[in-house]
Subunit: 358 residues, 2 copies
């Protein structure tokens, strides 16, 4: 990796999509982690321009993104959706910025590194201006899976997800709150953001379903990105993605198969001290990873290590993991990528980054 080409030690930073659920967390992460920036520029669509957001005690006005937005910007953090990324990333790169993109636009482009710093930091250096921040479920899954793969190898992954509203944006979080309040008050409520009622309900992930395979877009992204992040393009990965009435943390029931038998104790040991992982595994207290404790945390919580009863060979382990969708699943991972680029000597754990707001 080369770092000498940046124009200044403390970069000028822009956030595109600053008013979204992830944008707000990007600002908080830069602040909480004391990211060494010279200037922060907040950008959004014309619809959201004019709002002010606080950064380090200063009120910053959100500007509408335009052709001159990226002049003098060294680092651009994008979280405005894939079409915005496709439109603005080439312009930001042409203006000299490195883009860390939270959308799916470039994630499967072989020329664009797809990075989780705890998993494949060595891939960052090959970037040509854009680095892709992975899908939230893929990030939260691979942080604990990678050390297990390193320790034991890996032949198969199955996951059932319990995904929060935040993955569908701030409006979906608000719809969950408002729909639930209406339900409790006995009032009618018509969902506007999601297709199905959300109050005390759950449903198969809201991304479009492929007619041929029956898999939805979220599931196909998670499979492909998990394979890419683990460097295993042909690894069999099975998945069911479900949206549950939780605000901002994703939980995943994982079943991992290894080439040889692995004990639950060995799996737990392999994850103890792994970067970005915190073990929550108290059988006597029935205390395992859950959203109320993973939200607001930078670490992915991992626990419930046990043999998979469906695999009598002893080669499969079940566990549960939970991570904040907006932090490690999105904003924090993007800022950690930026830290690798601009201040690798400051490489830090992902431990508590900010307080939950949900």
């Amino acid at each position: 990796m080369t770092f000498h080409s940046f124009r200044r030690a403390h970069p000028n930073v822009a956030i595109l999509g600053a008013t979204g659920a992830v944008g707000v967390e990007l600002i908080r992460c830069l602040e909480a982690r004391d990211f060494p920036l010279s200037r922060l520029k907040l950008l959004a669509s014309p619809r959201s321009a004019g709002r002010t957001l606080s950064f380090r005690g200063e009120a910053l006005t959100v500007d509408a993104v335009d052709a001159a937005s990226f002049d003098d910007v060294d680092l651009a953090l994008f979280s405005a959706g894939a079409s915005q990324s496709r439109e603005w990333a080439p312009r930001a790169v042409a203006a000299g910025a490195v883009v860390v993109d939270n959308s799916s636009a470039f994630r499967m482009d072989p020329a664009t590194p797809l990075v989780v710093p705890e998993v494949n930091p060595e891939t960052i250096g090959a970037h040509r201006g854009v680095i892709a921040n992975p899908n939230c479920v893929a990030i939260i899954a691979v942080v604990p899976i990678h050390p297990l793969q390193q320790a034991f190898g890996l032949t198969r992954i199955r996951m059932a997800t319990y995904q929060a509203a935040s993955g569908a944006g701030a409006a979906a979080m608000e719809e969950l709150r408002a729909g639930t309040a209406a339900y409790l008050a006995g009032e009618a409520f018509t969902p506007q953001v999601l297709k199905h009622p959300y109050a005390f309900n759950l449903f198969s992930h809201d991304s479009a379903v492929d007619e041929e395979s029956g898999y939805n877009g979220e599931e196909l992204k998670v499979v492909a990105e998990t394979q890419r992040l683990l460097g295993r393009p042909n690894l069999p990965v099975g998945i069911t993605s479900v949206r549950v009435p939780v605000l901002r943390a994703h939980t995943i029931a994982l079943t991992l198969k290894f080439p040889e038998p692995v004990s639950p104790e060995a799996a737990r040991e392999a994850l103890s001290g792994a970067p970005g992982v915190r073990i929550v595994d108290d059988r006597a207290g029935n205390h395992f990873p859950m959203p109320s404790e993973s939200q607001g945390q930078g670490d992915v919580l991992a626990g419930r290590f046990r043999r998979d009863l469906a695999d009598p060979t002893g080669r499969s382990i079940c566990l549960m993991v939970s991570g904040d969708q907006l932090l490690k699943g999105a904003a924090l991972n993007a800022v950690q990528i930026a830290e690798q680029l601009f201040c690798p000597q400051q490489l830090r754990s992902s431990a508590p980054a900010t307080e939950p707001v949900a």
Copy 2:
């Protein structure tokens, strides 16, 4: 099976645990299905005695259960917990009643039939006075799994559950409502029934965790009962049981492995028209089984039939199922067992039994 031994064509019926979440649904099911009873007696612990509940337009007073409670009772529906069942079932049987027991007390007793009428009705006849109503997840799983096993054989089951509050009783349902209302109001709330916060949260099932295996009691029950119901004591069954903030319907992400490749279309076809199953499988509309539609329904909803991406042999199928925990998962199944005993000629589908109250 013999039916001639009953003392009267229209039995006297007693419900033990009449004031609980399942007890109330037992009354509704008897009413909605026009069960041909002569007299209904409502029983509960002394703590709940004296309350009145409506049945067929009549207000019935709940009596405290005592030594004389089962005199002249032909059918006793028990839903008051395992210790109450162990205490009162022998007395009810001695008094001449047949007991359909919703607790776990006798489910794994080889002398006690464990029955889901769509799956193993032929086992009822061997009862010695007590018939066990299975665990709610086991019932909701086997109703759709059984026809698939009949059609294709079956070599493995994996499930990740999304379980409702109702499985922990009426007080847990109320705790979910009250805790959520407090959360939305920004007020503190201390859970009394469940160990962890429930508002917009989820957690590993609240039953005690076996220190040795790491599996909780619920999971071990579901595995053992699923094996017994399917007549496959050695079938590998893997499971993760999770309590989600849903009021009264359980959803299960199922992965089933067969001896030979099975297409999603063939699996769907095998379940079309299967008793107790309703297909909800609209890829274009992203409309699949979910609690808001399974609650209040007697049928188990099944859909999202697709190949398991983790099994390249084509032998594994994924699907989602959802069923009302209080109806097919408990009260309705018990009443269907009673119908098999007392009015087998009236054998009916499990289709809509009552309106949801949650």
